[in-house]
Amino acid sequence: MFAVDNLTVSVGPQARPIDIVDRVSFSILRGEVLGLVGESGCGKSMTSLAAMGLLPKPGPRIRSGRVLLDGADVTRLEPWQRVEAGHDAMAMIFQEPMTSLNPVRRVGDQIVEAVRVREQISAAAAKERARELLELVRIPDAALQLSAYPHQLSGGMRQRVMIAIALATRPRVLIADEPTTALDVTVQFQILGLLRELCVRFDIAMLFITHDMGVIAQLADRVAVMYAGRIVETAAVKDLFAAPNHPYSRSLMACMPIRGAGTARLRTISGQAPQPGSMLAGCAFAARCPEARESCRSVAPAHLESAAGHEVLCSYPVTDGRPW
């Protein structure tokens, strides 16, 4: 199991830290997909970088909380220390494969490199494994494509190569940060199907980060909705879509343009998310919340369990089953 426990990531001076990820907790079982959804700047990517030990330096730092991989605390370990300690069964794929791949090295060599980080095997054996990995992610003519350079592949194929590199280390945890956002819907569809299949087949715990509620509905088993650095709602995917409890989750769903709805006005969320550091007392969403009451502006909300496995960070969650 992979767990993040009360994780806080901060920027700014030690004496006056600004929390960009604030007391975030979640856990993912093997074979399960947790979708982390939120808008830009909500802290979802920082959460994933902190979990991977990849926070940029100098810059944001983990102020408190823990990252647990199968019970081992890896919070303070650098990536190389994780490898030495044997806690390196985590991999990550990013939004833009072209910037993650080395443009002047053949994709086969890049996969071989990842294979040999973990396994002390001969070059020939590693190359054979690289070919298997390309077949696994369904790249046609895998043996031939080993010698391709990244620019010779389409966006979807590059993302498949990234997935192959991630799988090369035989991860138990896979973090995917908006891996399909830059792709066409038809290609996205295939990559989502591939990720789900691999996750089940290799018993991988996957954290899938996206801003797209549609993608969440298609892929995730459970969902965590993030707003202004905090997780405001966690639920099984069908429970969240059936009855979102947090007013922010409800608003996010309501403002999606849905086909066939005609040209009626879209619902919107007024205003903007607060800047980190400018947050006042009370609930961070209060200023934009259609359900906000006076006390929301002064009293910080607490986590409530509105149903089994359905947690919400709101003083007045919507639990009466109103449609969104």
Partner: protein, 323 residues
């Protein structure tokens, strides 16, 4: 919707790029024999994957790309043959909103100067006071505070910047606005605000609009009529409701099926057969969609289908599904 006379027509537009790859001369048929018409006060949606040519069509109408063949006629004037004064005037009548509000604003110019730029170049303003008034009016029209005129792009959020992009498009009170992926760089909550704004402006200023997007949700929500493009050609064209809800071309059907629906009960199990788009460089003989098409037969692989009426839409497919 309230739509009337045709305001803009595109006939037989063709734009091929010559490229060199590995010493070979290759040709990309970015736009291949595209014809369209835009009616007064209508929103015409163009949807397709990346590389389908939808942006090149928009840029050709603006004369930002030079097509090799075809005609673009705006209110009886041949757009592709305008030069000098005529072209300047045309670019006040037809305006464009771009995708990336970060890249399309000059970081060293104030918001007011950016919004007024087209007016400044064309001597639209009668004086300083008129210029200020028109800038303020434009900003108010897009829901921004006129005091933002003195600010710079880096001081604004993404949503505000896209509003500025729209403000500069509507300053000369154009007839046609071409919006190329106007919301794809924005968060969903902001996206809804900007789409509502575009709808409002269409009503208030009586604009006709060409909306280019890869997002069928956005296109279906905003458009009166929709053109679906695939590898440089229109493969289906018709009323939005028909095209979106009862697609006839197998490509439109696949495109609709691939959109992730926000409903976990409609989850698609397992993997799907749909493959990736073929390379731009070796466009298949016959129908360009045939290699990916579940309905393709021998005829599709040799004979390129032409647009023909199927039900209420026009469809380029030998085996078009009847709605």
């Amino acid at each position: 919707m309230v739509t009337g006379e045709t305001i803009l027509t595109v006939e037989g537009l063709r734009l091929h790029f010559d490229v060199r790859r590995g010493g070979r001369h290759l040709q990309v048929r970015a736009v291949d024999d595209v014809s369209l018409s835009l009616r007064e006060r209508e929103v015409l949606g163009i949807v397709g994957e990346s590389g389908s040519g939808k942006t090149t069509v928009g840029r050709s109408i603006m004369r930002l790309a030079q097509p090799q063949a075809g005609r673009v006629v705006f209110r009886g004037r041949d757009v592709l043959r305008q030069g000098g004064e005529g072209l300047n005037d045309l670019r006040l009548r037809i305006r464009m909103v771009f995708q990336d509000p970060y890249a399309s604003l000059n970081p060293r110019r104030s918001i007011g100067d950016s919004v007024a730029e087209a007016g400044d170049i064309n001597g639209v303003f009668t004086g300083r006071a008129d210029r200020q008034r028109r800038i303020a009016e434009s900003l108010t029209n897009v829901g921004l505070d006129p005091s933002l005129a003195g600010r710079y792009p880096h001081e604004l959020s993404g949503g505000q910047r896209q509003r500025v992009g729209i403000a500069r498009a509507i300053l000369p009170v154009p007839d046609v606005v071409i919006a190329d992926e106007p919301v794809s760089a924005l968060d969903v909550s902001i996206q809804a605000q900007v789409l509502n704004l575009l709808s409002d402006l269409r009503e208030r200023l009586g604009l006709s609009m060409i909306l280019i997007s890869h997002d069928i949700g956005v296109i279906g929500h905003m458009s009166d009529r929709v053109a679906v493009m695939y590898m440089g050609r229109i493969v289906e064209f018709g009323e939005a409701r028909e095209v979106i809800d009862r697609p006839s071309h197998p490509y439109t059907v696949a495109l609709m099926a691939a959109v992730p629906k926000p409903d976990p009960s409609l989850r698609i199990a397992g993997t799907i057969a749909a493959s990736e788009p073929p390379s731009q460089f070796d466009r298949p003989e016959g129908c360009a969609y045939a290699p990916r098409c579940p309905l393709a037969n021998d005829r599709c692989r040799v004979e390129a289908p032409v647009l023909r009426p199927v039900g209420t839409q026009v469809v380029a497919c030998h085996n078009a599904l009847p709605g």
